[in-house]
């Protein structure tokens, strides 16, 4: 009995509830309203997707190829997806090479119940600070990503909100393609932002470069005062249209929270601790990486999280220079007065921001040294 109680941790129970919900929803078959989907032969579908795991050639959305997306490789992280079928009918893909193993999301949620339960048994009396948060974050990412890959779900959602609208889904790209583009923009710009921001923040808190602190502060502050759209517009003639001007704009815009939090975090480290470290014979780089950065990590990571979430929103503006992402349906929808497209872009981007915030929150928890969180 007590083993069961340890197995069914609160998190495992939440996954269990989610699994039940997904199985119930699986039984609900919706009539598809989007003209493009209907034209492709999809008339009836469940709103619950299959698990999206293209990396392992495992499952994957069977609706992926319906518009012959060019971005297939980007989406599948460079690997050919399991289902590349000319046939719009999912069932027809079955006989071809790379036959997909379809796993409905409910089974995945049940799998997560088992994983959470086993972790619960394994680490019953300890706060486990690595596997549990990361496994949870990965599970939630896969669930949401699977929904991005399931066009009938978006059809159902948009039809529910705009029952009279003739257009529902964005006409020039799939939701998952847009999500892939958007995520790529955010991830690449964030990685660069963090690298540049950390380097700047560390540099200006060193004694040798401290005189640059006000200058760097001013620059990163002004980066955020200039409207993003203006930065994007200025970058386009210099770098050209497409992916990179958007990345530059996102970096300039996202730098402030990272640099500011790095400075605040490093300046906030107890000087007595640094004095003790010096007195013990640690070199300046040992003091930086073994003492200062770990103790400032919480504040630095909070800055990274803020920066990434801001980036999800600003990346939507990249559509104006042709970088793709959820900005595309928003911009086109506004131009052509097609409300479902605007909502599709906005809702998906918001969902992505929430998802990334949650994942980074878990990462922040994992990376913050235990000694800084622990209670007496």
């Amino acid at each position: 009995m007590s083993a069961w109680r340890r197995f069914l941790t609160p998190a495992a129970l939440v996954w269990l509830a989610l699994a039940v919900l997904l199985f119930v929803l699986l039984a609900v078959r919706e009539t598809v309203h989007d003209p493009q989907l209907r034209e492709a032969g999809v008339k009836q579908a469940s709103i619950v997707p299959d698990l999206w795991l293209p990396v392992f050639q495992f499952g994957g959305s069977t609706y992926l190829d319906i518009r012959g997306s060019d971005d297939l490789r980007v989406l599948t992280f460079g690997l050919t997806p399991a289902v590349v079928s000319d046939s719009p009918n999912p069932a027809a893909g079955g006989d071809q090479a790379g036959k997909p193993i379809r796993v409905t999301l409910g089974w995945f949620a049940l799998f997560m119940v088992i994983i959470e339960g086993l972790l619960g048994l394994r680490y019953a009396d300890r706060d486990e600070k690595l596997f549990r948060p990361l496994v949870r974050a990965a599970g939630i990412f896969l669930i949401i990503w699977s929904f991005y890959g399931h066009e009938p779900f978006w059809d159902w959602l948009l039809h529910g909100i705009f029952p009279t609208s003739p257009d529902l889904l964005y006409n020039s790209n799939t939701v998952i393609s847009l999500a892939g583009q958007h995520l790529t923009l955010v991830v690449i710009s964030s990685v660069l932002t963090v690298a540049i921001g950390l380097a700047l923040g560390i540099m200006v808190t060193r004694a040798e470069f401290r005189e640059f602190l006000p200058l760097v502060s001013d620059i990163v502050n002004s980066g955020q005062t200039v409207p993003t759209l203006a930065i994007v517009a200025i970058m386009a003639p210099i770098i050209g249209f497409g992916f990179w001007p958007a990345i530059v704009a996102l970096i300039l815009y996202g730098l402030l929270p990272v640099v500011r939090n790095t400075i605040v975090g490093l300046e906030g480290v107890d000087p007595a601790m640094i004095d003790a470290a010096r007195g013990m014979g640690m070199t300046p780089s040992q003091i930086l990486w073994q003492i200062e950065v770990p103790n400032a990590s919480r504040i630095i990571l909070a800055g990274v999280r803020t920066s990434v979430v801001i980036n999800v929103g600003t990346a939507a503006l990249g559509a104006y220079v042709g970088s793709g992402g959820f900005g595309n349906p928003i911009a086109s929808g506004l131009n052509q007065a097609i409300q479902p497209w605007v909502l599709l872009g906005a809702f998906s981007a918001a969902l992505l921001a929430i998802l990334l915030d949650y994942i980074l929150g878990r990462v922040e928890y994992v990376m913050t040294p235990k000694g800084l969180i622990i209670e007496r």
Partner: protein
């Protein structure tokens, strides 16, 4: 051995914190640097491991100019403990203590054993405390870990900057006593900075009194109290320096064995003869094990000439005697409180080992007083 040779420290703003300091810190001794704020005591200490640079003169550490060592190598040879403790909160107790041994490339097994030994030494149970984080420890426990960390790689020299300064008075006394016990076993060469004269007298084998960057007097605590060199030192050590001095002396070192002793089984006549032959006023009475049971005086023997048991004043050795390990100050206080001119000295089991007289204590204090007056 640490030798200061005409050491000068001038800060960039022109302030001379240390002005031609010359003194020798002897091996295996605790040398206390004391003086009012701004006297240069901490500055002098911090020049030893080159946390501060030397403007003029030099400091010899174990026969070599300390500027001949690479700074980090020098510091790893010198234990460093500070008032703010400066434990690294993101590291466990073990990791904190292991910092210097790890930098010196010790094997993990050796480090683990060393950490356990050190925790034992400072009175913390290794099994309970090894994997705790600093936040889980009380202030006193943290400072014990701080001392253990300073001793980490068994450095021959230690610098301690008011290590017990931020701890409540009761715990401070305990830590001071414990540290003196530890020092008896490890015999490190220690520079100990404090502003508390009582701590200086208690902890120091020698005390250096500094004023405005110069050495005023460098002597053993006893000499310092008995013969303060000038008015400044006399004021600094305080008006009760005679009493403080008695606090330095143990009864064991002052006691005499000139008082007559009689056994409980002896007769009243035996007691009378013993007192008369010693030309004393009274005799101590012990039992067959030598344990103090009371005393008998001439008056008592006159009133009860037939029975020693009737003539004597019985008393428990804890109430009428003083321990040989007590300080002269405690003995004086006991005598004043009980109105005795002579008091028996006993060991831990109550066995009479000698006696101490009020006159002897007075003479001791007077001698210092006269010498001190003549000196100034």
């Amino acid at each position: 051995m640490i030798e200061f040779q005409n050491v000068v420290k001038q800060f960039p703003d022109g302030f001379r914190a240390v002005n031609g300091l010359s003194l020798t810190v002897h091996d295996g001794e605790i040398t206390v640097f004391i003086g009012p704020s701004g006297c240069g005591k901490t500055t002098s200490m911090r020049m030893v491991n080159r946390l501060l640079g030397i403007t003029e003169g030099r400091i010899m550490v174990e026969g070599r100019d300390n500027r001949d060592y690479p700074a980090e190598e020098l510091r790893r040879k010198i234990g460093y403990a500070i008032q703010q403790i400066g434990l690294f909160p993101h590291m466990t107790v073990l990791e904190n203590i292991a910092v210097v041994p790890r930098m010196l490339g010790w094997e993990e097994d050796r480090i683990r054993k060393r950490v356990d030994d050190l925790l034992d030494l400072v009175g913390l149970d290794p099994d309970v405390n090894r994997d705790k984080y600093p936040r889980q420890l009380s202030g006193g426990q943290q400072q014990r870990v701080g001392v253990a960390r300073a001793l980490g790689a068994d450095p021959p020299i230690m610098l301690m900057d008011e290590p017990f300064g931020a701890i409540d008075p009761i715990t401070r006394e305990v830590l001071q006593d414990e540290f003196l016990e530890i020092q008896k076993r490890i015999s490190k060469t220690i520079i100990f900075v404090t502003h508390d004269i009582d701590e200086a007298i208690k902890m120091g084998d020698r005390v250096a009194i500094l004023r405005e960057g110069s050495l005023v007097q460098y002597d053993t605590p006893d000499t310092l109290l008995a013969r303060p060199k000038n008015r400044f030192v006399r004021d600094f050590v305080g008006a009760d320096r005679q009493l403080k001095r008695l606090g330095l002396l143990r009864v064991r070192e002052l006691m005499m064995k000139d008082s007559p002793v009689v056994n409980l089984r002896q007769s009243a006549d035996d007691a009378k003869r013993a007192i008369e032959s010693a030309r004393a006023m009274s005799a101590f009475v012990v039992d067959e094990d030598g344990v103090l049971r009371g005393w008998v005086d001439r008056e008592g023997l006159r009133e009860n000439p037939d029975s020693l048991l009737d003539a004597m004043n019985e008393g428990d050795f804890r109430e009428i005697g003083v321990r040989q390990s007590a300080t002269a100050r405690e003995a004086l206080s006991a005598m004043v409180a009980r109105g005795f001119r002579i008091t028996p000295v006993v060991n831990e089991k109550g066995v009479l080992v000698g006696n101490i007289t009020l006159r002897a204590l007075q003479e001791l204090a007077e001698q210092g007083w006269v010498e001190g007056e003549q000196a100034s």
